[in-house]
Symmetry: C2
Subunit: 354 residues, 2 copies
């Protein structure tokens, strides 16, 4: 079984679950105030287009330890995806991004409504305030989904504890990412620490462990998952950063080059600085984080990253990490079908175009 | 027993618990990154000075239904207070407030650090980004506290479900408050709906119910609590709004008049508009929400609110609601000592100066 045939049908099941959930919440909220109903409607619309990798990994971790009840794992996968949505909304606000999933970001959507409704005052502040609040709503919606799911009281608490533990790590990563964004020089170690906290832990390690806990896995067995999920998780972020600079705008659903304009902390950038000659360094520093970057300047950045060998370095490292993760697969499960999913997922991570 | 002798020693116990909790988290986080440790340190410092009403009400609800184990209820009270802190941090950001608890607000603290560290870029954006993230950290810290507390698996899930349920309502109230802040005219019903969602449910109904659930109370019995907690909760907010315009700056720990500058949705304002003559209405509209309000203009607003009878109206309504809540007290518990606490708390709500 390959990644697609395992993940895609389950992604569709998660999406059906989410649609029902959001529709029900919208109906309930409408009785209180239309403003609340609109928040749920926005969440429902904005979640469309995600890859459901985290939700799918929960199921994979669950089945890896013999879990067989898809009905039990589905609300947990949905809860992870809703939490992810909340974190993305805050992330978009922090990065001042305009687009995600082929849609305006939530703060931009509210900003536009402020103008359509001809409200007085500052549309930016209106958009920002409601985006903060909508993300908070997503967080607590996910908690209530887990707390009311039908998978045994003790397991639920273990899941919630693990879940809050790794979201805390994600938040550390987010804060570090913000802070280092204001440093004039950051190291490869610092970039990789962000990737570890904000991506590997959050996108791979955590969801797989949650699924394992739901299936009743022991602490030692859960730890084995990390030999796969940490390296593959870092590779996932390296590929994300490559796509952020070199990817196809149509496929990504957001403008390529926003990583450059935001001055994102990526290995592509730190490595290019390290390898470049003085002139290249100076030019890269001038362009990385330039809010009004032109198309030709974007091409220049691409060229600098390639010319210094930084592009190849990131790509090679991602490939090495994926290979490292793949070597751990036989220890994860004896189920050959699931092994094949782990292997093909690892390859997909660095081959994907979105 | 009166309110003070019941609440104050317990507030001190909550504070000791919080100090230990935050210190431990700070130590753990320091091993990962100083940026994370600093977030915990900020939370620890910023939580000082709260009244711990919500945490105390958890205990009161618990004892109301025969709960006797203070060690079990303490982590839940602490978790409620930490969540409250997170919501306040986002609230301060939305209101662009500069001070709370005699300290600069979290976004202002980070803003100042940006300048001290001589970081490049926008200090406002730095402060704002990290304040968003610090509040998120508070939310998940609270979840992990509840999920690992020592009060039985089934009760924990019931508590978490109730908790996420009422925080969702609080968030509805927050969103409605933001949205109505941009309307040119809002009704008494709308203001009271905000107060119900954002204050009564959140500050009184929810914490009392949580304590009841922890003591094993049934759904019907929990509903009885609402006859007290809804009216007293609304009265609490009315008094808050009165203090926000007429209170003593030193006692409040934040500038008096910020409610006016922010154009806060209060009954004081809507009622004064309703009662005022055309000239008074016009003047009030011009001053309410004026960011650069002078001291003499603040006095003018105070005068308008008193002159139109709006001040008296709010004060009288708060008193009526408190009396209504007090009448329900005999149905809450047969314990005379706890009855006395409920009664004196209700009086305190409208007598307090901070």
């Amino acid at each position: 079984m390959n990644y697609q045939s395992y993940f895609l049908p389950y992604a569709a099941a998660i999406d059906r679950f989410l649609t029902n959930f959001f529709q029900q919440k919208t109906r309930e909220a409408r009785k209180i105030t239309p403003v609340a109903a609109e928040m749920w409607r926005k969440l429902q619309k904005f979640i469309a287009g995600g890859k459901r990798i985290r939700g799918g990994l929960v199921k994979l971790g669950y089945e890896c330890f013999g879990g067989k009840n898809q009905k039990a794992v589905l609300p947990l996968s949905a809860a992870i995806e809703i939490t992810h949505l909340g974190l993305l909304i805050h992330d978009d606000l922090i990065d001042q991004d305009d687009f995600r999933h082929h849609q305006p970001t939530i703060h931009r959507q509210y900003e536009a409504e402020h103008q359509q409704k001809d409200y007085p005052g500052d549309p930016f502040h209106y958009g920002q305030s409601l985006a903060i609040v909508v993300a908070d709503l997503a967080y607590y919606a996910a908690i209530s989904l887990i707390a009311t799911a039908d998978f045994g009281e003790e397991k639920k608490n273990k899941v919630l504890n693990e879940f809050s533990h790794y979201i805390v790590k994600t938040i550390y990563g987010q804060a570090l990412d913000v802070d280092l964004g204001y440093h004039s020089r950051i190291s490869e170690e610092e970039v990789l620490l962000i990737h570890q906290l904000k991506t590997a832990q959050y996108t791979f390690v955590g969801p797989l462990r949650l699924g394992g806990i739901l299936a009743g896995a022991k602490a030692n067995d859960l730890r084995r998952l990390e030999k796969y999920s940490f390296p593959v998780g870092i590779a996932f972020q390296l590929q994300d950063d490559i796509l952020g600079v070199f990817g196809d705008e149509e496929k990504l659903g957001k403008p390529v080059g926003s990583d450059i304009k935001e001055g994102k902390n990526t290995l592509l950038y730190t490595e290019a600085l390290k390898r470049g000659n003085q002139k290249q360094q100076k030019r890269l520093r001038a362009l990385w984080g330039k809010r009004d970057l032109t198309a030709s300047q974007r091409e220049e950045v691409r060229w600098l990253i390639q010319e210094t060998g930084s592009f190849e370095y990131s790509q090679k490292l991602a490939r090495q990490l994926v290979e490292k993760g793949k070597k751990a697969v036989p220890q994860l499960t004896e189920n050959k079908e699931l092994q094949a999913v782990f292997l093909s997922l690892a390859d997909f991570i660095i081959e994907r175009e979105k």
